[in-house]
């Protein structure tokens, strides 16, 4: 017994039958009371937790896209329905719930009530979708990804895609902001477990901001090089700030074509490549999906 001083309970005489009943009843009561207290607390904190999470995500998206305070952010959630060989993709946008074949052929589309659209919590949305789409087994309908649309007035002002990629150690989760012409506005690392001092440097501006300003065509040609980062380019990237969608400095625009590739973090080529590959794939997939989902936004 290192940790708990005092006698362990087992040393005492075993309780009699009557005592046992009382003890059991007492414990049950205590448990019930505890459950009630915690349940109550749960009902108070859960919405707050979700709200806070929502606010954090929104702040980040607004920053990435440089939205005005009046702008609205609409989440678009994607689900996969798989029953046997048959696979369907379902999008929940701000307006519609679209049930589509894999090639984009519409099977069904219904309007989304306002309270679902406005709901901050993902859970509420998922539940509503599960109610609308009939599946034999709840396991057959699965959430598969999401992106956000920033809406200024009534026009989309840009998109933020959530992506994941396999880093040096585990998954790296990132947000990527894209404007309507598929040019990257910025990349933000949300979650990673890379090594401090090495792979963890992917969160640094000088690395992640290298993606900003690249068009779809640029990105397709991009590769990771191990040359040292030029000093002036690094300075520009550092100055770009965390949330780069602002009228960019002319200097930065001038420098971009001179640096068509991504400079790897010194000593962490694997992590650098992983993020680059992730961004590449996320952008490509997003473009393909946009062709289909655009009309439901």
């Amino acid at each position: 017994m290192t940790c708990v001083p005092g006698k362990p309970v087992v040393d005492q005489a075993p309780p009699s039958g009557r005592e046992m009943v009382i003890i059991a009843a007492g414990l049950t009561v205590v448990c019930l009371v505890a459950a009630m207290i915690l349940g109550g607390l749960y009902f108070v904190t859960q919405p707050a937790k979700e709200h806070n999470l929502h606010v954090r995500e929104e702040t980040m998206i607004r920053g990435l896209l440089g939205l005005t305070p009046q702008a609205r952010i609409q989440e678009v959630r994607r689900y996969l329905k798989r029953e046997g060989k048959d696979t369907q993709v379902i999008y929940l946008t701000g307006k519609k719930l679209a049930q589509l074949e894999l090639d984009g052929k519409e099977l069904a589309a219904l309007d989304v009530p306002g309270d679902v659209t406005a709901a901050g919590s993902a859970e509420a949305k998922d539940e509503w979708v599960k109610k609308q789409i009939k599946v034999a087994d709840p396991e057959h309908l699965k959430y598969a990804g999401r992106f956000f649309v920033g809406i200024e007035g009534s026009q989309p002002a840009g998109y933020v895609v959530e992506g994941v990629t396999l880093g040096f150690k585990t998954w790296v989760r990132f947000f990527m902001a894209i404007d309507s012409s598929y040019t990257i506005q910025g990349v933000e690392i949300i979650e990673h477990e890379e090594d401090p001092g090495l792979g963890a440097e992917i969160v640094q501006r000088y690395f992640k901001n290298q993606f900003a300003g690249r068009s779809l065509a640029d990105i397709e040609k991009i590769s990771v090089i191990k040359d040292p980062l030029p000093k002036d380019w690094q300075t520009a990237l550092e100055q770009l700030g965390d949330m780069p969608f602002r009228p960019w400095a002319e200097k930065y625009r001038e420098m971009l074509p001179k640096n068509p590739n991504i400079y790897a973090i010194t000593g962490s080529t694997i992590s650098s490549t992983a993020v680059t590959v992730g961004v590449k794939a996320a952008l490509g997939n997003f473009r393909k999906r946009m062709n289909i989902v655009e009309k439901y936004l």
Partner: protein, 331 residues
């Protein structure tokens, strides 16, 4: 009868036997090891230039400072003359990239001695190889410098271009990288010869297999090391080399030889019996291969030896010397 008057003898020493000793001392062993390390340092100086001497000096200074201070604090006689701190410092320097900033080995040596040796009570009580802990600590503290500050060797004029080590290139690039490396060898040249002699990018003291062999031969001749550990380390690595796209490079680089002959054979942190030593060596070899082939480090032997160091006390318990009793079974 008496032919000489016997006066009272000088102060006689009383002790129980044996009254003679083999003549070998700990300090002698340590200094011989230091001596045997010199060829590799000379080679490094020849191909990488003066900075390697600065690195060695800095790391030795770090170790010696820590050793001196720890003796001072614990108010014991200074253990510097026994040469073990110098040996650790020298070995630590050998595991570092030749273009690392000169002050870093000092920090590494300092930390290594404090946390591996001083805290445990000095020479003989450490669990881990001091030099390797130093390297692992530096690897964790200065990851970028430890993985990128390589020099391309050149006899005479040192080419200061930094590049990744060959093993790192292969780890990243796979078979294509091997082809690229092979393409750099001029017609009529032998890749293995370059590696054997030490014409490649690598850590200060491990580039030249030949020089390490020279030092090791000296130690073998003097009976300071035995072949059980080195041979089994090499055998273990050789097994794992089958999974590599370039077995020759695999076997001749990445510090295996330095590790097998100078690090793994460290008395304090390796098992004492032949059987234990063979298992220890094989373990190092296989772990090195596992780390190289599927792990995060292209070289791996440093961590492999450290991991087996942990097992040393257990190996000493599991593999006892054979008793000279009728059944020959240790009781």
């Amino acid at each position: 009868m008496s032919e000489a008057e016997v006066t009272s003898p000088p102060t006689l020493h009383l002790s129980s036997g044996p009254h003679i000793a083999s003549g070998r001392t700990t300090a002698q062993i340590m200094w011989m090891v230091n001596l045997s390390l010199l060829p590799a340092l000379l080679w490094a100086w020849a191909v990488f230039g003066w900075p390697v001497l600065a690195i060695a000096a800095s790391s030795i200074l770090g170790c010696a400072t820590a050793e001196y201070l720890s003796c001072l604090i614990s108010k014991t006689e200074s253990t510097l003359p026994d040469g073990s701190a110098v040996c650790s410092g020298l070995l630590l320097a050998y595991t570092l990239p030749p273009a690392i900033p000169v002050w870093m080995p000092f920090i590494g040596g300092l930390l290594a001695i404090v946390f591996t040796k001083a805290v445990f009570g000095g020479l003989g009580y450490n669990i881990f190889n001091v030099a390797l802990v130093g390297r692992a600590m530096m690897m964790a503290t200065f990851p970028v410098e430890m993985t990128t500050r390589w020099l391309t060797p050149a006899l005479g004029n040192v080419d200061a271009v930094s590049s990744a080590t060959v093993l790192a290139q292969i780890k990243l690039g796979g078979p294509e990288a091997v082809n690229k490396i092979l393409a750099t060898v001029p017609d009529g040249g032998h890749l293995w010869l370059d590696f054997f002699l030490g014409m490649r990018a690598g850590s200060v003291g491990e580039v030249s297999v030949l020089m390490i062999m020279l030092g090791a031969a000296f130690l073998l001749w003097k009976g300071i090391i035995k072949l059980y550990i080195p041979l089994s380390v090499l055998a273990g690595v050789a097994v794992m080399a089958f999974f590599s796209p370039a077995p020759t490079i695999y076997m001749l680089s990445g510090g295996i030889w330095l590790g097998a002959f100078f690090m793994a054979t460290d008395y304090v942190t390796s098992p004492t019996t032949a059987k234990g030593q063979i298992i220890f060596g094989l373990g190092i070899g296989l772990l090195t291969g596992i780390i190289r082939n599927w792990g995060g480090y292209p070289e791996g032997i440093c961590y492999a030896i450290m991991l087996m160091n942990i097992l040393t006390p257990a190996l000493n318990d599991w593999f006892r010397p054979k008793r000279l009793t009728a059944d020959g079974v240790p009781s």
